[in-house]
Amino acid sequence: MARAVVRLPRLLEPAVGTVRQVEVTGSTIGEAIGDLLRQQPTLRVHLFDEQNQLRPHVLCFHNGTPDRDVAQGTAPLSDGDEIVFLQAVSGG
């Protein structure tokens, strides 16, 4: 099992309060996201839709690389990995 860090945007404060980063564990990125949602269950509705797809205007980067399939992701997780969620530059 590897340890990684998930970073969250400030806009998600209504869901998680002042939490900006969460330490997660797993052997794949999908397992890491599962751990994130166990620790912060209110995030699920904001990051993923009913079909468990990343919301269209939410971005996820795994070590700087965009990954839209994180919930089911089988990419291996390594110690020190960084998973970043951001809102897309859109809206008004």
Binding site: L12, P14, V45, H46, D49, E50, R55, G91
Partner: protein, 344 residues
């Protein structure tokens, strides 16, 4: 009205009437659309949030200041193919709370809003694949109730009535014009009736008033039949409709037309009927003398039974009356686009 909770395109604001002005607290939920407020049977306050990025959620508070998101909010089953885009309305009846949402559907909570279950009879209504959204989305935005009877208004579809507490629903739009098709058979119950607002008489729930895309209507038989009631209105288009259940006064906020959704010639005003909708007149005094080109959205009118009425505009202004609409004053504030106003 001594206190208002206001939902805007960018956060929620709590306004408290002071000696000379209104104190403003907020925003709660900075950056989020705050589209609905409600109250659970135990008095807990509810807020419905939406976001262009992060979906919709339900939040609870005991003081309007500290809010907690519920973990098991409304959520369509994965296999439905439907998505929850916005919470449009809360409606509490007895020990149950209903939430109307976009994509059009209904959810209920029997535990003060902590967890929510879908109402399959509406959410899986036959033919819903043919439902078309209005400009504001495919939204279940008004709920009325009386015992086991339930009415749900959906844009741009029509009004649905249940006689059995939500186990079954039937369309109730006879007499209402279809949107964009003035030649459509008014007896038809095809989708395309775009209800904007609903209010009923709690003493006689068969009496329902309706601000629709196509005009203002009244039913005296629980929605079986609708008749137009627009005498005295400068325009039939608008979004909210409210009622002071003590005096019976009705309130609407007319806009020029579907294709030009602004007050007529810049004259923003609420219109009032004091004869159950037979005739309408501008509500009282105190409106700006022109220059107003922002309207009132469907949830941005609050009416209580003590003579209080408040409306918020898409330009962020708020107008309040404490005497059943005889005299109006503008709160000195400019908020983001106002989506929802409630007496707090």
């Amino acid at each position: 009205m001594e206190r208002l909770i206001v939902g805007t395109e960018k956060g929620g604001y709590l306004l408290t009437k002071g000696r000379r002005s209104w104190d403003v607290e907020g925003p709660a939920f900075p950056g989020w659309k705050v589209s609905a407020f409600g109250k659970a049977p135990d008095g807990t306050f509810l807020a419905g949030l939406g976001s262009n990025w992060f979906g919709a959620s339900v939040h609870r508070s005991t003081d309007y200041r500290n809010w907690q998101q519920v973990e098991n909010g409304p959520r369509y089953p994965e296999e439905s193919g439907l998505k929850l885009n916005q919470i449009w309305v809360f409606h509490t009846t007895g020990d149950r709370i209903y939430a109307g949402v976009d994509q059009a559907g209904l959810f209920y909570s029997d535990d003060q809003g902590l967890s929510w279950e879908p109402v399959p009879a509406l959410n899986e209504y036959p033919g819903r694949a043919d439902w078309q959204p209005g400009f504001g989305g495919l939204a279940a935005h008004h709920i009325l109730s009386a015992g086991d009877r339930l009415w749900v208004g959906i844009s741009a579809v029509g009004v649905f009535r249940s006689e059995d507490g939500g186990k079954t629903f039937e369309r109730r739009d006879r007499g209402v014009m279809a949107v964009g098709d003035p030649d459509a058979d008014p007896e038809s119950v095809e989708p395309g009736r775009c209800v904007h607002g609903l209010v009923s008489d709690p003493k006689d729930p068969d009496r329902i008033w309706r601000q629709d895309h196509s005009g203002v209507y009244r039913s005296t038989d629980g929605g079986d039949n609708w008749e137009r009631i627009e005498e005295g209105l400068p325009a039939a288009f608008g979004f909210p409709i409210g009622r002071n259940h003590e005096t019976g006064s009705l309130f609407v906020a007319p806009l020029t037309a579907d294709e030009n959704r602004v007050p007529i010639d810049g004259h923003l005003a609420v219109y009032r009927s004091q004869d159950d909708g037979k005739s309408w007149h501008q509500s009282g005094r105190g409106w700006p003398d022109g220059g107003q080109f922002n309207g009132v959205l469907r949830n941005a009118m609050a009416v209580d039974s003590q003579g209080g009425i408040a409306v918020g505009t898409t330009g962020g202004s708020i107008f309040v009356s404490d005497d059943d609409g005889d005299n109006w004053g503008q709160i000195s504030i400019s908020l983001p686009r106002i989506l929802a106003v409630e007496a707090a």
